[in-house]
Symmetry: C2
Subunit: 227 residues, 2 copies
């Protein structure tokens, strides 16, 4: 058992080394790197499709997309106008730094304003693997029920922004946004909670606004104002 703990630690350290290197590269390029996590089917890909359409011609964006199998998500995102590299993990339950480092070889980071990292659909494991991102976004969705924040606290606690997707289904699912907000507060989280629907477009302006502000914050940190 002791041996196992030691080895886990070594593996995490290897990922941390990649993550540190990725973070440095993202900073040097002055781009905003966003790591998206959620349950399968919560709408990470739909959110990136909408983001691609709404920011087309305004910000230069690209994505890498993790899935056990298929390139379906990468194709959807690319069709929406955002270059996207698919990472297939085989059986792997999360993206690691090495995979992201390989996938972004395809991009000239200096030419990007935002890099999205769509993680494997899994509310547990991805939360434990730093990918050098500036911001971590956890996407929940109404059909999953209100209590996911307290049942998957590791992921939600690590979030810089919580997106609640599929609010067009509030009535059909009997979902209570107030209860969801209460569960988020129960975790002691003090981050933006953006309610939206990728289907109807409701709430997407706030998401785009958040992205622009965070991208600006990262850019300003990169290029300090001269007195």
């Amino acid at each position: 058992m002791k041996e196992r703990i030691r080895l886990d630690k070594r593996i995490v350290t290897e990922n941390d080394r990649f993550a540190r290197d990725l973070a440095e590269r993202f900073d040097r390029a002055g781009l905003l790197a966003v790591n998206l996590m959620s349950s399968p089917g919560a709408g990470k890909t739909a959110l990136l499709e909408e983001t691609a359409r709404r920011l087309a011609g305004r910000l230069r964006m690209a994505a890498v997309d993790g899935d056990l199998a298929t390139d379906r998500d990468a194709r959807r995102i690319a069709q929406a106008g955002m270059p996207c590299r698919q990472i297939n993990t085989g059986g792997g339950c999360h993206l690691n730094g090495r995979q992201v480092a390989q996938a972004i070889e395809a991009y000239d980071l200096d030419e990007l304003d935002i890099l999205f990292i769509e993680n494997v659909g899994n509310l547990v494991c991805p939360a434990s693997f730093d990918l050098g991102e500036h911001r971590r976004v956890v996407v929940a969705s109404t059909p999953e029920g209100e209590d996911k924040p307290v049942k998957y606290p590791v992921a939600f606690r690590s979030a810089d922004c919580v997106v609640l997707n599929k609010i067009d289904l509030v009535e059909a699912t009997g979902f209570s946004p107030a209860d969801f907000s209460r569960f988020v507060r129960d975790l002691g989280l003090d981050v933006p909670l953006l309610q939206l629907s990728c289907k109807t477009g409701e709430g997407l302006d706030a998401w785009i606004g958040w992205l622009r502000a965070e991208r600006e914050a990262v850019r300003r940190a990169e290029v300090p104002a001269k007195e």
Copy 2:
């Protein structure tokens, strides 16, 4: 890297030892053990609530329920009339044999017809951990989209039965049951595919029928007919 592979193997072997022991105990008791897997919020707990209500007084059932945190699901299942022990995994992404063995200490297995093991909400990791179950059920739900079988092939390929829940939301979500069935077939799966709604009750008779038949099959295997 070599070392890591060796160690993974050792860990799996420890779980397999527990799983083998559990399988023997389940067989000796003549009960049907069912391991339920799904994404967070697909409806495993709702399915067990409905099962508890519909089979109350007919079959003797109990459950163990895995979650990272909280005992919300176990309380829901118990309130529906089925004894349920909560297993909190901390950050753990799946149930293992040791946890199940500890949790079922609470039960006299000889007094049960069916034991349900509700796994951690995660379509990836639980699929790799045998818990000694007779049958594995993967629960999908319409809001997750049609393509989950091909994007999470390890879990779906391991299923003895696929349940598609929330068919009351087919219209609201624009879900295509035909596409879902096609994706299931694309995996080469030849197992029952039960479409149902725990909310409206549609399709639940077929689920109960499947459970009864499987329970009977296990019982017959346990007590061979005498000529």
